[in-house]
Amino acid sequence: MGILQKFKQMFSTVPMLGWFLGILAAVLIEYFWGYDYISYYLGLPKIPVLFGALIMLKEPVMIPGALAYDLIVYVIPVLAVAKLSCFITNPGAALLEKLPLWLSAVIHLVCFYAILHLWAGINDYRVLVVKLTLVSIILTVSINVINGYQGEFSCSHPGFMALGAYVSSILTLVLFTNDKIFGTALLPPALGPYLFPLVLVVGGAAAAIGSLAVAIPSFRTRGDYLAIISLAFMFIVKSAVENLNIIGGARGMGGQPDLAPLPVIFFWTMLCIWVIHNFVTSILGKALNTVRDDEAAAESMTVKTRKTKMTAFMFGAFWAGVAGGLFAHVLTYINPGMFSINRLAEILAMVYFGGLNSIVGSIVGAVSINVLGEALRPLELFKWIIIPLILIFVMIFRPYGLISFTEINAKKLLEAKHKRQQGVSP
Amino acid sequence: MQLNIQNLNVSYGNIKALHGISFSVAAGEILTIIGANGAGKSTTLRAISRMIPCESGSVMEFNGRNILKYSADKVVSKLGISHVPEGRRIFGNLTVTENLTLACFARKDKDQIEADRKWVFDLFPRLEERRHQLAGTLSGGEQQMLAVGRGYMSGHQMMLLDEPSMGLAPLLMLDMFDALREINKLGTTILLVEQNARLALKFAQRGYVIENGSLVLEGPTDELLDNPEVKKAYLGA
């Protein structure tokens, strides 16, 4: 315990920028020497993916090697650089603080993306995992709007996702590709990347409109009954798609153009987080909480509860739709089976594991479940014992999820960390 | 002494609600604890009925038996201490009769139970009228009566009453306290917690004053009624 305290103490002076620099160093090391030297001399077949988790589980003999690799490539450089660079990063951060918050936030994000890009660039498997994780983040944050902030137990998210995925896929297939189903492209494929945002928005809108099927009943009923309505909605969407043979029915539809490279997905994820953050911290957004905690009181305090419920569902559904669109264009193949009970269980697990009523929580939840899911692959069946156990323990010891009822405070996050000490020293 | 409390400490999370209070109640007496909101009255009762845990070092004895050895349900079924909680807590989805029957869950003495039920209905004729009504649809006053009746059925060694007058019309309030006196006459010790200090002090024989978590005054009620501080703080004179 004491050591941990000291440790915290020691690094409390490192600003976000410092950590970025540290990670950057690590990534660069891996990028230049990871394959040819470090992993080679540690006797690893190649750069261990996911911090060696896979390889460690597959071949225990490699454990020391993998751990050494993590130590050399990640732990040591990150900590060392982060700590040592304080003398420049803190002034840097202080400088950025002079800028308007949004600008400095954008700058930080750009740096972060650059690093992420380098790291993922090592191989496409990482890229895929990162992409899918980002999509999950959108899903989780958006369902948190309904199930966390608004407190309903909505099971329709896979349905919304499906709507988004299919609508946007159809659009891109019709517009930008020559394929068996919809014939030749209506627009020059070159336009794809530019119109893709529009496509996603349309997909999201479709999901939002679909969500009315759940939102309108929510005027008169709620809680468990609404849960069933939403569940029914999910099954209805799935069954409907299965019966639409033009879009492939159960066979699913493939061949979507690859319009969702990492930067695009990253952008949309950040946008989603930003917008939802703004919303839930505004009074209009807090209205969701009042409806959850006591609807009658909300009404008497002039809150338009119907409008509020409607907003919650359509807004959440919209982002689910966007996520679906991205998902479809990452896998370049979708089928109705993907948007069913399994997906639902996954999404619910992510949001409740991460934490209710908190965007940070949702991000944590999405990332950890995704990474766990990949990292434990080699365990085959046992993976499905370990992950549930982890979730159960989290639920028991943190019933509201890992991080709940807390919002991002960009200012605190990005500020320079040495000012306090100055405050102390005369 | 029937109930004997020594150095009772209770906290909710990191909020300390009771700072080592000690007091005792003699068999058959009516004792009241008065105090401001959040002083710790309900907490005291909850601790005795084991609804909330108390910190180590606390001593609670009832007829010489260590209460801490019993779980909440055993305190009722084995020691015969019943607790009429703040805000009634009657079972709205059960009928009046069912509420009373459930109160005797752990009791075996069939005919005694019958007698008690009859007695309760005599005490509160209103309840008998509404025997088969769902308790949830009773008005505030009737619910309070049911709560007390239920408490009496579940155990009559001692009754812990938490603000039985809360939200009652003056007239009903009088009925209620007459009823309680009746119950006491049958030999049930009563530990009463009240906001309405004057009422409580007029009703009880002995009283304690609790201020944010510790007992500050103790004595026969008539003394307390004359005590200037009490007058100032609780009788709004």
Binding site: L128, A250, R251, L331, Y333, N342 | -
Partner: protein
């Protein structure tokens, strides 16, 4: 530099968990048997040089996206030279996309859906296609029984049965005119009660019931049909071809027919050898999927050896392997002779299997393109 010694890695993309774990198990066992052989031979000899061989077995949870992930991982992370699997088209179709994108040979042993290999030079398969299988069954029924009215019962939510059902309907109606499929009934995955559909079918006056379902649904369908007064024959497809079908179905299934890739009972030569060995090691008669996986692996092996030599530059080698594979002429596998079309589909005979009264799958007839 980085003088790592080249290991030949073969990826196996199989449904070890999920809806059809038995299929995954079969694939895995077959692969392990194959590896055993290679290891006994002290490695795989390519261009006069022996290489160590390693299997990378990934679970696709019989989910499409999981299959995609698995392929991406095996190709970009584990540097596999070729991939065998996935088995069901549900996974094979999307996974094939990935393999083709990264120019890595993928042989799906059991995926019978055309789009798996369509326009994908790097994707091959080890079995015939539904457009072939459908008519085969239709012809067989017509010739065998001379029926003209057929009923179909299939799972709408599952890619393969749906596809095959459509093909069969088409073929049958081409033969016997429109409306000759008198009942075309469906259910969804994981359903266990088919009574309303079967009642309909019985009422429709169909003479034969075709149901291209997996081994875990067949027994339910058959027994429920009998209980609802169905007396005619029931015919199935290659998805029946698992030892479990009969284990679970018992007497009810005796005397029924299905189209398949090979027939275990009364097999000869290499096929028999394989079956006996498999049964000896794992204690049950290998399913189609095992045999097909075995063939697929042998195809891969052949292709690698034909490639001549390995440069150690994985991209190069993969390309070489692909070309070699496309070249292979009547490769003789335990499920029949194979030569690939330019789509990467083998020209292969289908076998009609009869479940005899000892509950064995015996060869009844075969039909070739």
């Amino acid at each position: 530099f980085s003088a790592r010694k080249t290991i030949i890695k073969i990826g196996i993309n199989a449904p070890l968990t999920g809806d059809i774990p038995k299929v995954g198990e079969g694939s895995k066992y077959a692969a392990q048997m194959w590896l055993e052989d290679i290891e006994n031979a002290g490695g795989l000899e390519v261009g006069g040089k022996k290489y160590e061989v390693e299997l990378v077995i990934e679970d696709n949870e019989s989910k499409a996206e999981s299959a995609v992930k698995a392929n991406t991982k095996m190709i970009t992370q584990d540097d596999v030279l070729a991939i065998v699997g996935p088995q069901s088209s549900k996974q094979a179709v999307p996974a094939g996309e990935v393999a083709n994108k990264y120019k890595t040979v993928m042989i799906s042993p059991w995926s019978t859906n055309p789009s798996t290999t369509l326009d994908r030079p790097y994707v091959f398969r080890g079995c015939f296609l539904d457009p072939f299988q459908g008519p085969v069954v239709a012809n067989f029924i017509t010739e065998e029984f001379g029926f003209t009215k057929a009923a179909v019962l299939y799972d709408v939510a599952s890619d393969y049965p749906k596809g095959l059902a459509e093909v069969f309907k088409q073929a049958w109606e081409d033969k016997h005119g429109a409306g000759s499929v008198v009942a075309y009934e469906s259910f969804t995955t994981k359903d266990t009660d088919f009574s309303s559909q079967l009642t309909k079918i019985v009422k429709s006056g169909a003479e034969v019931l075709f149901t291209p379902q997996y081994y875990n649904e067949v027994p339910l369908i058959v027994s429920q049909a009998k209980n609802l007064g169905w007396t005619g024959p029931i015919v199935g497809s290659d998805s029946w071809g698992s030892a479990e079908t009969i284990e679970l179905c018992g007497e009810d299934c005796y005397g029924l027919f299905f189209s398949s890739h090979y027939a275990a009972a009364g097999a000869k030569g290499a096929t028999k050898a394989f079956i006996d060995r498999y049964e000896k090691t794992y204690g049950y008669i290998p399913d189609d999927v095992a045999a097909l996986t075995w063939d697929a692996l042998r195809l891969a092996q052949q292709a690698i050896q034909d490639a001549g030599k390995l440069t150690g530059k994985i991209e190069k080698d993969r390309e070489a392997v692909r070309d070699a594979l496309a070249q292979i002429k009547d490769f003789d596998g335990i499920t029949g002779k194979m030569t690939f079309t330019e789509e990467g589909d083998p020209i292969k005979c289908a076998v009609i299997v009869r479940i005899n009264h000892q509950g064995e799958y015996e060869f009844y007839g075969s039909s070739c393109p």
